[in-house]
């Protein structure tokens, strides 16, 4: 019964996505709602985020390239430090007719989580991310983010929220102060391998003086996660931006692979 309800909900939201209005400028390099788990020590997660904007901003605004038909490839490397901490590193690139393949910027992202031994009823971690992106791709060149992460799996259902706070150190949004950019995910396990769900991303602007709805960025993605192997991570989705400041259509994919090293003894 729940399964049928979930299928109807996903279908409805998919139709809503198809009917959504046209949008304005936005850059998308890593589109992901974080789960609370961290990468185990002595292992590396290599992820490739591939995001294409079939229908986005078509004009150069304040020197920023339009997002329409931009293909973003982001390499994310995440190294486990301890049972409760990791550090991630990003390389952002963009490919677009007339501009070719361009390096966009880099970020670094340390993260800690609440250890299992604390017996919290939900998974909790805290990520912080700082980095640079070129002005032709983002008017705010130096940014910082702190992202609390809470998640919970209950039976076939999965819930995650990322109420992130952002701060710009260089660029037009310096005046904005702290911005609020939450993300959330709800997923459902149709089988052991196939999960489906919705992901929500937003940028409301300043936390003290939120933007008008017109200027807010909001996206809803219909996604599927394929749990084909403990070593692999596969996430595919299509998203729509229902506000004027958001790209109309975005297609995203994440392909990740865990690598472990060090002598793995039977007796470790």
């Amino acid at each position: 019964m729940l399964e049928a309800a979930m299928q109807r909900l996903l279908l409805t939201l998919g139709i809503v996505a198809l009917l959504a209005p046209a949008l304005h400028a936005q850059g998308n390099y890593e589109i992901q709602v974080y789960g609370a788990d961290t990468e185990p020590p002595k292992s590396l997660m290599v992820e490739l985020h591939s995001n294409f904007t079939p229908n986005g901003q078509k004009h150069i605004i304040d020197g920023v390239y339009p997002t329409n038909h931009q293909e973003h490839e982001t390499l994310e490397l995440t190294e486990g430090l301890t049972d409760w901490s990791e550090i991630g590193f990003y390389v952002f690139t963009s490919e677009q007719d007339g501009h070719g393949v361009q390096w966009v910027g880099d970020h670094i992202r340390p993260r800690v989580r609440v250890p299992d031994s604390w017996h919290w009823p939900v998974g909790v971690s805290l990520s912080t991310e700082v980095g640079y992106q070129r002005a032709v791709y983002s008017p705010d060149t130096w940014t910082w983010e702190i992202r609390p992460i809470v998640d919970k799996a209950v039976g076939r259902w999965y819930f995650a929220v990322n109420p992130a706070l952002e701060r710009t150190f260089h660029g037009p949004d310096v005046k904005q102060g702290v911005g609020f950019a939450p993300g959330a995910k709800i997923g459902y396990d149709f089988t052991k391998v196939v999960s489906g769900g919705l992901e929500y991303y937003a940028d409301y602007g300043s936390i003290t003086a939120p933007d008008t709805l017109h200027n807010q960025q909001q996206q809803i993605f219909l996604v599927t996660d394929l749990n084909v192997s403990p070593k692999w991570e596969i996430n595919v989705g299509v998203g729509v931006g229902p506000t004027a400041s958001t790209d109309h259509w975005i297609v995203k994919g994440i392909l990740g692979r865990h690598f472990s090293w060090g002598k793995q003894s039977q007796t470790d």
Partner: protein, 462 residues
């Protein structure tokens, strides 16, 4: 052979004992055990307790007589015993006498028909178990309740204790006898990479203490130490080694093995027991500990100290895990064909979401909606354990023992009698037993989370 003479368990209040005893005087058919002038041979009290497992950590749990493990019960083979069990907890309890050939109404499994012991306070109802212990050997007793999501209940708690049935004739040669129980504590259900969920534990102990806490095992050079080791862990297998020494394994699950062997380490699946003699011929101070580093770091170890030796304890890390049941099998020729009736039992999991533990099935069905094969008394049966799942399963047959007949890589063995066998993931194991103890007979995986999720079935006698 049928089950030895036993009485049905009686659940009585202390007040009702007087009433019942008066009735008993009038009726010789009632068990004399309820007479107040015949106190029980043993008394167990199930009650909440706080137990120090190290200088820094204590565990709030439930235990027998406030101690972990519970008191050692030593019985004489064939001599009836009476045990009163009082339940001071807030929930129903039951005590299973693991490895004994008892009737279903005292064996200690509700599914077979043993009554649960009602919850209560200081004046609560007590249960009286009366039975004739058989067979001789190293057995144990433990709770047999459902735990589910509560990783403080059932076998996750401290409700376990040693039970030793002395043989009528005991030819064993040893200078000191030591009982050790391996246990894991403070579990957290976590998802694994393959999508299933299993507990992970914060602490692991020997006799309720982490390594370095509590008294060492004190030995003397030249002694023969007989170790009786029990894995009472709710879910985990354990490997044990004692650097500088070897274990002469003489019995598995309390039953003498046909071919005793010297081995460098022991493996015990949940509910398994190993009896091994160690020649103390390497004076020093050593760690008898879990071979896997992260489990020993969680506390599973105990110091073995020779007399007049005071050096820091020594541990030498093995690089491999070594164990095979087959090395203890009979070396003699195979027994003649016995026309055993084959019963295939297929163990599989059923996915119910990444946020829930898998359900377990035997031949596609989960407890209580399961098959109940009908056994003919005196008939030999061959159970074909087929485990295509990704988990190992320590399966246990109540009220009987079985003979290992086929293991991965050893398709034709005989002579090893057990009541628990670890069926490796993606493998097949065959055992045989003779249906010689009438009554409902429970069969299940001894991992608490697996039996809670349906991995149980009953055999019934025709």
């Amino acid at each position: 052979m049928d089950t030895p003479h036993c009485y049905r368990q009686a659940v009585v209040t202390r007040r009702s004992i007087l009433k019942i005893s008066a009735m008993a005087l009038a009726s010789s058919a009632l068990p004399r055990a309820v007479l107040p002038q015949t106190p029980a041979d043993y008394t167990l009290e199930i009650a909440p307790t706080t137990h120090d497992i190290s200088a820094k950590h204590s565990i709030k749990t439930t235990a027998y007589n406030g101690q972990i493990p519970g008191p050692l019960l030593r019985f004489r083979e064939g001599k009836p015993v009476t045990i009163d069990v009082a339940n001071r907890t807030a929930s129903e309890e039951i005590v299973h006498w693991h490895g004994l050939f008892l009737p279903p109404d005292v064996d200690g499994a509700m599914e077979e028909g043993t009554p649960m012991i009602p919850p209560g306070g200081q004046n609560s109802k007590a249960a009286r178990y009366i039975f004739t212990p058989n067979p001789a050997g190293f057995r144990w007793y433990h709770t047999h309740t459902f735990a589910g999501d509560d990783l403080k209940k059932g076998q996750y708690s401290g409700q376990h204790g040693f039970l030793f049935v002395e043989p009528a004739q005991n030819p064993a040669r040893y200078d000191q006898e030591i009982f050790l129980a391996l246990h894991d504590w403070d579990g957290e259900m976590t998802g694994s990479g393959d999508g299933s969920m299993n507990p992970e534990y914060r602490f692991s102990t020997i006799n309720g203490k982490t390594l370095g806490f509590g008294e060492p095992l004190r030995v003397q050079s030249g002694q023969r130490i007989l170790l009786h080791i029990l894995n009472s862990s709710p879910t985990e297998q354990h490997w044990l080694a004692l650097p500088g020494h070897q274990f002469q394994v003489i019995a598995l699950d309390g039953n003498p093995v046909p071919t005793p062997q010297l081995v460098p380490m022991l493996r015990l699946a949940p509910a398994e027991r190993v009896c091994a003699v160690v020649e103390m011929n390497n004076p020093g101070v050593w760690i008898l500990g879990e071979v896997r580093k992260h489990i020993q770091a969680a506390g599973m170890g105990i110091v073995v100290e020779y007399a007049n030796r005071t050096t820091p304890p020594t541990w030498q890390q093995p690089e491999k895990l070594l164990w095979s049941y087959a090395q203890f099998a009979a070396k003699t020729s195979q027994p003649a064909a016995n026309n055993a009736i084959e019963i295939p039992l297929v163990f599989e999991s059923k996915f119910v979401g990444h946020g829930a533990p898998d359900h377990w099935t035997i031949n596609g069905k989960s407890w209580p909606n399961v098959e109940s094969p009908l056994l003919q008394a005196g008939q030999r049966y061959r159970l074909l354990f087929k485990n295509p799942s990704s988990d190992d399963h320590p399966v246990h047959l109540h009220r009987h023992s079985f003979e290992l007949r086929s293991l991965p890589g050893f398709p034709n063995i005989h002579g090893i009698q057990k009541d628990v066998v670890l069926v490796d993931a993606k493998s097949e194991t065959h055992v045989e037993f003779t249906a010689n103890h009438r009554g409902a007979t429970l069969f299940h995986c001894h991992q608490q989370n697996h039996m809670d999720e349906g991995f149980m079935m009953l055999f019934r006698y025709a």
